[in-house]
Subunit: 319 residues, 2 copies
């Protein structure tokens, strides 16, 4: 029988530092063209509204390939169910055999997104960040802090979200957290800001963001979503993206491109920054942005890592 692993088992074996490294290597491979990732498959549902996305591919030379199936059904919340769900399948690229089913319920997607935030901060955060600003107080906001802890010494954070109550309830181990009155207030105090919302209009405007700030925007992972005012892209010294191609289609960069505020050549991929092919932040006065829409190579890298760690645990009975 094929091993089926649970979310809890993955939570037990995956260390943030390893996930960050796997995602970092994935971005490099992606930007070097050493990945095979076909267009995303999609199914849409009405009544109730829902969607299913199929992302799949492999890193050239890998002995495995990965298929990730993620569903989103917003109305699940009313039924007391998770609104997003997922499963990843890892197959041998030598024989086509199914090697394992990672019944992660979206956990691997959550952490690969958090890991990308950490990769961006390593490259682009100014020196001596004192407070980290988190916009959006959900699972991803919490994970961003947990992963930033691995790469930055800052242990103070400020949070803003639409519901004051949810902001007050936001806790992350090891962080001293304050609630901000507004996005603008938060941006006045934090030199590293991560936006993690499902917003469909910008939350951070050009006058909100101070010199020497880095912003990582992870919320705009599909058409119609937006967190940053396009003018921020004109002001930024570095406009990093996970995928130039994908961020030109959606993500915050796409609005700046559509409005002609920047050109596609102005976007630099994280993989190029890691590889030293393009310059990252040059001083503590620059504004920098990382627009992260999520790419399949992150899923592929994290699935491989998870499977390696899970298989090493002989005590995990699978099936």
């Amino acid at each position: 029988m094929i091993p089926v692993y649970t979310r809890e088992q993955m939570e037990a074996v995956l260390r943030p530092s390893d996930v960050i490294q796997a995602v970092e290597e994935g971005f490099v491979a992606y930007s070097r063209g050493e990945t095979v990732v076909p267009p995303v498959g999609e199914l849409l549902f009405e009544n109730p509204t829902g969607d299913c996305h199929i992302k799949y591919g492999y890193r050239t030379g890998d002995p495995s390939f990965t298929i990730k199936i993620a569903t989103g059904f917003p109305e699940n919340a009313k039924k007391g169910l998770l609104t997003s769900n997922g499963v990843m399948l890892v197959f041998s690229s030598q024989t086509g055999e199914l090697l394992a089913i990672l019944q992660d319920e979206g956990f691997l997607t959550d952490i690969r997104t958090a890991a990308a935030g950490a990769v961006a901060a390593k490259l682009l955060a100014p020196r001596d960040v004192e407070g980290i600003g988190i916009i959006g107080a959900g699972t991803q906001g919490r994970l961003q802090l947990e992963y930033l802890k691995e790469v930055l010494p800052a242990r103070k954070a400020m949070v803003w979200t639409r519901s004051r109550e949810r902001a007050e309830a936001f806790r992350v181990d090891g962080f001293e957290i304050q609630v901000a009155d507004s996005c603008s207030g938060l941006a006045g105090r934090c030199r590293l800001i991560v936006t993690t919302t499902a917003s469909r209009q910008w939350l951070l405007g050009p006058s909100d963001v101070h010199r020497g700030t880095h912003i990582t925007a992870v919320g705009a992972d599909g058409g119609g979503k937006q967190e940053l005012h396009p003018e921020l892209f004109s002001r930024a010294a570095v406009r990093a993206v996970d995928s130039r191609k994908q961020c030109a289609q959606f993500g915050d960069s796409s609005y700046a491109l559509q409005e002609g505020r920047i050109q596609i050549e102005d976007l630099v991929e994280l993989g190029e920054l890691i590889d030293g092919k393009k310059p990252a932040r040059e001083n503590d006065e620059q504004i920098t942005i990382a627009d992260l829409t999520g790419v399949a190579i992150q899923d592929i890298q994290v699935a491989k890592l998870a499977l390696r760690r899970l298989m090493a645990r002989k005590d995990f009975v699978s099936n």
Copy 2:
């Protein structure tokens, strides 16, 4: 935990007559436009050569949707492994939750193809077929006979395949089987012929096929594969297909279209025949063809049926 069902469990619960009915209903829904089936996802591998295809979708109004992942690695044979493999996942289209994993190793694909052959024979075989001709003596050849047994009284068959030894070893319960010396010889004796090979050039030529014969061709399920001479399509009174759109791209019909021997309007879908929208065979003198390339709705229908039957078996411990 999500239930994971094995091939053996599916073999135990699926009756050919039910599978044929499910596939028949699927063809009707497909031809009425009552299915949602996006383009097939594909990954190709070299060293060793292999492929992975992702077919997915649902029938409008279904409470579930299905994703089928099928891999083919021809060099597996040398390693003593199955050359084709597969898994189907059934999800709720109400909540996006994964309902079950059907670890069918390609079994559901095999039987949905056999069931399509039976559907075609019901509609297009001449009356009083005495002997059934099977070209290609593999799993699909055997299943075609097992499924034809449900819809035709004929219990004699003739088989041809490249290896005489494999042809001699071909056995199907309830059938008296003779080995043919050639495709032409087989076509001279059988008024119902099913081709089930991986051939890349035609096996049945225009002079081989006698009046009153129906041919079902199931082998040409991808580009470059061919079993029937294109001229047979000019001679046929009915050129049935599972999907007009897909058969125009590959399948035996595509060659006849490319050579201008027939027009796309000359192709009629099985769903239209079942629905009575187009005429099937009119007499026992006509030549008819069914070119079956395999469509996702067949997988969807069979996966739903399998899951219904599997869940009814309380003794099946899943996981």
